[in-house]
């Protein structure tokens, strides 16, 4: 029966997969069959049968580990000795970690605003044109591919070849520099600007999301509002600033906060493109390095908690804005 845990051939793997799905279906069928007796089973028991499996998993996989991580963040690297807030002090005072925090804030400031701005402008520009579907599809496509794939795509754009006789650039960015008469540049290695070149990749991915949501919001603006503004003489940029933007404000807030939360946890891009070297590491990457490469469970847990704490104000802002916009309506 070892193949259930260690499937190694394709056949075994597919077999384990089928086995898992059948097992899952069987367990669920037994649970549901047991409570399928109309009027004889109390409501709470049916609710338990419907919610119980999900609740158990959430308790096992989110709530318990979450609390455990908070607890571990006050212990040392092997989770044996209590160290109080030392891990947090280390994160906020040591120079290496300060670069990590600084980078995370740069990401957090630039990516949501830039992606939303690009997405918004693009959505307005292509709205109601003949090529709308195609134009949107092009921007949207990066959303389908993994951040690992996006990282590879852009790493190739930034690829550097030394400036020597007979050596051609193979990365587009450096070739453009050469065409413009400049020297090729080590985009991913030269700090501090390399962080900027990494976060372009995230903007590239998230602009499509921003564009899709904002485009839908723009199309939902009542025509009479636009019409009234037109009659009052508003056109072009003034129409955009004083009518379109205020009308889609709730959607803008959702987009900015959603991207901000994704950006805060950015990991794949940094890991694929620089591995966090050359001063490009961010909190989520440092969390991975400390937890699973340096085996410093204390610092790792503290970094995860920092991530959690950073998310909370964004969520609160999001909920407050949604409440406000509902009151206005």
């Amino acid at each position: 029966m070892s193949w259930i845990l260690d499937a190694s051939t394709t056949g075994e793997k597919l077999l384990v997969m089928a086995f898992a799905i059948v097992l899952f279906a069987a367990v669920m069928a037994i649970i549901l069959f047991a409570v399928d007796r109309p009027r004889r089973v109390p409501n709470w028991l049916i609710a338990l049968a419907f919610c119980g499996p999900a609740g158990l998993m959430l308790g096992f996989g989110l709530i318990y580990p979450g609390l455990r991580t908070i607890y571990q963040s006050f212990f040392d690297r092997t989770s044996t000795g209590f160290v109080g807030v030392d891990n947090y002090l280390t994160i906020f005072t040591q120079e290496g970690f300060q670069i990590v925090l600084r980078n995370t804030f740069v990401w957090l400031l630039v990516v949501p605003l830039a992606s939303t701005l690009i997405g918004l402008v693009y959505a307005v520009l292509v709205d109601r044109t003949r090529f709308e579907a195609l134009a949107k599809g092009l921007i949207f496509l990066p959303m389908a591919i993994s951040m690992v794939g996006a990282g590879i795509i852009w790493k190739f754009v930034y690829e550097f070849r030394p400036d020597q006789q007979g050596v051609h650039q193979i990365g587009l960015a450096n070739q453009i520099r050469v065409w413009l008469g400049m020297d090729p540049h080590q985009f991913l290695i030269t700090a501090p600007w390399n962080t900027f070149f990494l976060l372009i990749v995230m903007i590239w991915i998230q602009a499509g999301f921003a564009m899709t949501v904002l485009s839908a919001a723009i199309k939902a603006i009542p025509d009479d509002i636009v019409e009234a503004a037109r009659i009052d003489g508003a056109t072009g940029i003034r129409l955009f600033r004083h009518v379109t933007v205020p009308a889609i404000r709730p959607a803008l807030v959702v987009v900015v906060t959603t991207i901000a939360m994704g950006t805060l946890k950015i990991f794949d891009i940094v890991r694929t493109m620089t591995g966090g070297q050359f001063g490009t590491s961010v909190v989520a990457n440092e969390f991975y390095m400390q937890s699973f490469r340096q085996f410093n469970a204390g610092i790792g847990a503290a970094l995860a908690v920092v991530l959690f704490i950073l998310v909370i104000p964004i969520v609160i802002y999001n909920i407050r804005q949604l409440r406000l916009s509902e009151e206005i309506r």
Partner: protein, 306 residues
């Protein structure tokens, strides 16, 4: 993370038809500014050229990729499939194995959370029990927990249970992480179904299990498709969960893990990296392009998880 699902999912066909005529009228004036056209074309190019460059490179001979830029293809066109055969079946990369792993990881990680979330969402929407609202808010709040917070203790538990490094831990983890958003989204869709429909079935003597399967499930197919694509793309494209629970082993690790690793260890082997990246992209791209309608719907209804 929270949009207003009801305002977006209501049928708007009638209004849409009425507006089409008006839009055609406005289209003439819209892109009149040459600046607007120039900006949108520039953005479109900037968003496509990087991908195109790597795609073209993946079909060029290894020697050419290493010495000349992909734009030289237009003056010296040479194409080959050798990179793909090497990256898929060559001894050093073996991506075909990891491709299978990706599929084996993804399918249960989509099916299991959707099933569980559907059941839970039904209970929250249509079964009256004490503490329901409190529990629903709690599930909703769990959406904000970053998965990083859970990884170390979860891995410890798996090691204690001697399950670590198997598919089971990856399936379980992906299912758990998907649940809060899935329950929230599917609950919103379920609430949209008219009460009278459910009441009628109840009067006819159907229990909750029958109502769930006979009445609600058929009506929820678009919602399930919307979330299913989401979860599919999320799992297939995930790196962190797989890296933590599957490790780098050839028996479990998915494509993303292998390619991220290649990028670190063989960062200049562009003939392998370019072809490998597209091997990993082809499935999500096909799913995405063929089911884009549902994807956009899901995106607008509930936004994205992290």
């Amino acid at each position: 993370m929270t949009a207003t699902p009801d305002s977006l999912s209501r049928p708007r066909t009638a209004r849409r038809v009425a507006r089409t005529a008006q839009r055609a009228e406005q289209a003439k004036t819209r892109l009149s500014s040459p600046w607007a056209t120039a900006i949108s074309i520039a953005v479109a190019i900037l968003w496509t050229v990087p991908t195109f460059g790597l795609l073209l490179s993946s079909f060029r001979p290894e020697q050419q990729i290493k010495t000349t830029g992909w734009w030289t293809f237009f003056s010296d066109p040479q194409l080959t499939l050798k990179n793909y055969t090497e990256v898929l079946f060559g001894g050093s990369t073996q991506l075909s194995t990891f491709f299978v792993n990706s599929i084996v990881i993804t399918i249960p990680s989509v099916v299991i959370p959707i099933t569980l979330a559907l059941l839970a969402a039904y209970a929250f929407a249509w079964i009256d029990f004490r503490g329901r609202d409190f529990l629903f808010v709690a599930v909703f709040a769990l959406q904000i927990v970053p998965i990083q917070v859970t990884l170390i203790p979860l891995l410890q538990t798996y090691v204690d249970l001697s399950l670590a490094g198997s598919y089971w831990t990856v399936w379980l983890s992906h299912s758990i992480f998907a649940l809060p958003l899935a329950i929230f989204l599917l609950h919103n869709f379920m609430k949209d179904i008219p009460r009278s429909l459910v009441e009628a079935a109840r009067v006819d003597g159907a229990g909750h299990v029958q109502i769930f399967f006979r009445v609600l499930l058929p009506l929820l197919v678009p919602a399930i498709a919307a979330f299913g694509i989401f979860q599919f793309l999320w799992v297939w494209n995930d790196l962190l969960v797989a890296l933590t629970f599957a490790g780098g082993t050839q028996n479990v690790a998915p494509l993303t893990v292998r390619i991220a690793e290649l990028s670190g260890t063989r960062g200049t082997a562009w003939h392998l990296l370019s072809a490998g990246a597209f091997v990993a992209m082809i499935v999500p791209l096909l799913v995405f392009l063929s089911l884009q309608r549902y994807f956009v719907r899901g995106l607008l209804a509930g936004s994205v998880k992290g």
